[in-house]
């Protein structure tokens, strides 16, 4: 029996008509499971949706969207739901579309791509791909998270140095617009061409899907994509040994050779990374802060704090440039690249981390950047995750913005835990661009979440003053940021209005049309 008022009951019954009773739920005990996540915003704004539905196909998604337009109820969409703040209920009659039933994977081995659905996870795709001599870039969110969402909404790839930002890996896209139309972009727009390519026809609509973050399904729901795959010279089954959480994974060293090189400063590390990029060696390249070593490695809180407080990681893993050389052409490639790397290390003043530290850490943690299993360990320390800096630009610019980020981090320590000026740098495309990121964890209480959320508000304010677009500003509604950036909110509002006249597609995210229209109407009515 549906649980709410008349409108609720009508919506519920119609959803059941379309999806079947097994795939529609309005029970508060079930919708409670979609009310929050580990981000401060997710905690503070926790709220149950009225409905959660589980469609099994693009056509079913389309029907839900059409119902939403008919009966005027808002919807949002999620996959594994690891990052929920932009999909949580924010109004009455809210319907969360849980895409767990949509998890098919089809691989075109020859042409190196995979067609995937919203709940195809990184690990699932990686497992299928490596059987075929291919791999997909996997980010630092854990292999259990959605490969699909990583590309269309927001995310990196551990191999980004070669495989680019996750959004660069999108090919053909199938997309249900807020009005219920299905649009197919890239090669899909041509009957018979399939999913293999992402450009065109003409203007590339992937530009409407992605900025630094995705459009948060405010412009409709993507239901199928093709994702780029890349050659994999490794084994067809991922190697691991041990019993969780005490597990190792070691790839054949003649084909995958890791180097962890410490530098006296992040600036020197970046110089070395530029040189590595110019030499075009390696398949993975990162700069990792000391805390990353501990986050990915510690198997318990005690282990984390004991090694952290004795400064084990600070002493041994400061400003580490991590590079993994792969034998794509042959094992001689690794040998060649090692020679080049050693030249660069010598010239740049780097020092490999001590062997005992490497042996203690690498077999258990380093290959997480190829197939991640341990990333969620960073939430072990406090439960919440925040950041004071996530920017994408040149590596130098990402670096230049770190001091301000560290100042913010100092200001918010506590409640930020750990107390170190972390600096994660992930270059893309042989160092044409890079991500710079400063993360921290915090105790996940309402009180602390308020402070953390305040820090995000300040970050966005600072971004606007300094004319910077961090991921936080990129995800904030354009109502807040748009006027500082070429009034882009007005442009997006026109598109949103045309595509979503009933404002049902994740309203309040990307752009809050109600608020914008009220503001514009007020401005219009005021004497000039």
């Amino acid at each position: 029996m549906p649980l709410g008022d008349e409108k609720h009951k009508v919506i519920y019954n119609e959803l059941v008509n379309v999806l079947g009773a097994n795939y529609v739920c309005d029970d508060p005990a079930v919708t409670q499971a979609y009310s929050r996540d580990y981000y401060a915003a997710g905690m503070l704004r926790r709220r149950r949706s009225e409905f959660v539905v589980a469609p099994g196909s693009t056509e079913e998604v389309q029907q839900i969207v059409k119902l939403a337009n008919r009966y005027k109820f808002p919807f949002s969409v999620m996959a594994t739901g690891m990052f929920l703040p932009t999909a949580m209920a924010a109004a009455d009659y809210w319907c969360i579309i849980d895409t767990k039933r949509m998890n098919q994977i089809e691989i075109d081995e020859k042409n190196m791509y995979a067609i995937i659905e919203p709940c195809s996870t990184h690990a699932q795709l990686h497992a299928e791909a490596i059987k075929r001599g291919l791999f997909n870039g996997v980010p630092e969110t854990g292999g259990q998270a959605s490969a699909f969402v990583n590309a269309i909404w927001g995310g990196n790839q551990g191999t980004g140095y070669r495989t680019g930002m996750a959004s660069r890996n999108l090919l053909g896209i199938e997309w249900v617009l807020p009005n219920g139309d299905i649009v197919r972009t890239g090669s899909l727009a041509t009957p018979g061409a399939g999913y293999c390519w992402g450009e065109g026809p003409g203007p590339d609509l992937r530009g409407l899907l992605r900025g630094v973050s995705g459009n948060q399904a405010a412009l409709g729901i993507v239901t199928r994509i093709a994702l780029k795959l890349y050659p994999w010279p490794g084994p067809p089954v991922w190697p691991s040994e041990g019993v969780a959480p005490d597990k190792k994974s070691e790839l054949p060293p003649e084909k995958f050779k890791w180097y962890l090189i410490a530098y006296p400063s992040v600036e020197k590390a970046v110089d070395a990374m530029y040189e590595i990029g110019d030499s075009e060696i390696g398949m993975l390249l990162h700069h990792w802060p000391a805390i990353y070593f501990n986050w990915w490695w510690a198997k318990s809180r005690e282990e984390f704090w004991s090694t952290w407080l004795e400064e084990y990681w600070h002493k041994n893993c400061k400003n580490v440039v991590a590079i993994c050389l792969w034998s794509l052409a042959s094992e001689k490639q690794v040998q060649y690249e090692e020679k080049v790397l050693k030249q660069i290390i010598k010239e740049s003043g780097g020092e490999p981390i001590p062997k005992d530290v490497y042996d203690r850490w690498a077999p258990y943690a380093v290959n997480n950047w190829i197939r991640d299993t341990n990333a969620c360990r960073w939430m072990r320390i406090g439960g919440g995750l925040g950041n004071t800096h996530i920017v994408f630009d040149t590596m130098d610019n990402a670096l230049a913005l770190f001091p301000a980020a560290w100042e913010r981090l100092d200001k918010y320590t506590p409640p930020a835990l750990g107390g170190i000026h972390s600096a994660w740098i992930l270059p893309f495309d042989f160092c044409h661009q890079a991500l710079g990121e400063v993360d921290y964890t915090f105790e996940k209480t309402d009180e602390v979440c308020q402070v953390v959320q305040q820090s995000f508000v300040e970050l966005i304010k600072q971004d606007r003053q300094d004319s910077v677009i961090s991921l936080a500003s990129g995800m904030a509604t354009l109502n807040i940021t748009g006027r500082d950036f070429a009034n882009v909110h007005l442009l997006v509002a026109k598109i949103k209005k045309a595509l979503d006249p009933n404002n049902v597609s994740n309203p309040t995210r990307l752009i809050d049309m109600e608020k914008l229209e009220k503001k514009l109407a007020k401005a219009e009515s005021e004497p000039k």
């Binding site: 690891m82 197939r371 560290w406 107390g419």
Partner: protein, 421 residues
Amino acid sequence: MAMVMEKQKILPKDDWHRKYYWDLRKNAWFCARCSVCKSVDPWEVKSARFSKICPSSAYYIFDGYSCQGRMDVTVALIDGELKYDDSPGLLDVYYRCNMCGGCDAMCKRVQDMEPLRVIQEMRSRLVRDGQLLPAHMPIIDSLRQEDNMMLKPKAERGKWAEGLAVKDLTGEKAEVAFHAGCNLSFDDELGKVARKAVRLLQNAGVDVGIMGKDEICCGGKAYEMGYQGELTKYAQSNMEAWANAGVKTVVTTCSDCYNTFKRLYAELGSKFEVLHIVEVIDRLMKEGKLKFTKIVPMTVTYHDPCHLGRRDHVYVPGEAIMGIYDPPRNIIKSIPGVELIEMERIKENAWCCGAGGGVREAYPDFNAFTAQERIEEAKSTGAEALVTACPWCERNFIDAISKNGDQMKVFDIVELVQQAI
């Protein structure tokens, strides 16, 4: 550039974040919604097909039926955001769960948490608060009358041992008590496993006895259903009976009973050594007291029963989630002619058979789905037979296979061993 700040600034205020200890609400609240509880360890995923670990999340789809969802509901109940009356489906959220511990093992890979313990404690609370799952009530009522979980009269309990020349512990003393368990005691087809186990022990020179028709339930399944009182009651009775019989060691072929005796009774003060038959066989093999003389040409795959595998683990943050993974494998690999082909999800990553947590009793469709999933995985190895070490698993697999017309054979490991000696 890196500055390590003063300790009081960088450490969490709540000492729970520095060193883990059990707290119901802290555990539930801490859930990050990372969803590792729904999937196999990414390093262990070998195919997309067999990459999930949580049967209830896989079957019921909605996150309310996942471990993560149960954490959310727990916090909501504790904090008063959700009341019992708000939700007709509340009990299903907690009871559509095999209590297999897959979510728990995966969570422990990355967090200091005990989500299965949260679910268990919440079930106990629900029962204490009178929130009883209707499907379980007749079973508990019957248990209270007949001392078994099978809805059978206790008078029939000893039938499996008819004609078996073995010490009767109600009157005699022995070092080892063999506990058949409710399932084997009343299952006409599988009862032979208990008989074979007893003979095996006897042939190895073990001083073993049974309670026979006076054997009573271990109380474990009822406990998992939330009936804590039943566990305490049966624990006291069993321990008293063993003590009276001079028993030092309890051996069983049932993984549920094994886990109950070894872990739950220990929390109630039990000092008895508890061994699963696979541990005994493994030990006997190593001591040279058991030799396999016949060739058994067969390809098999082995299913890790949850209660023998990852649920055998006593949680210490950071320590490997060890269970009795190796002894059954050692046994299988030692039998001449047998080839072991592992499934994709094994050991702490094993997929449940479906029977546990009161699911078999209350949600037959879900139970059947879970079992069939495992059968599909077993079939994908190409093995002729699926071997396990728990009668609940065995029965569930046999039922699934016969319903779907599959050809795969199912054996308890004792049956496989018997073919080789």
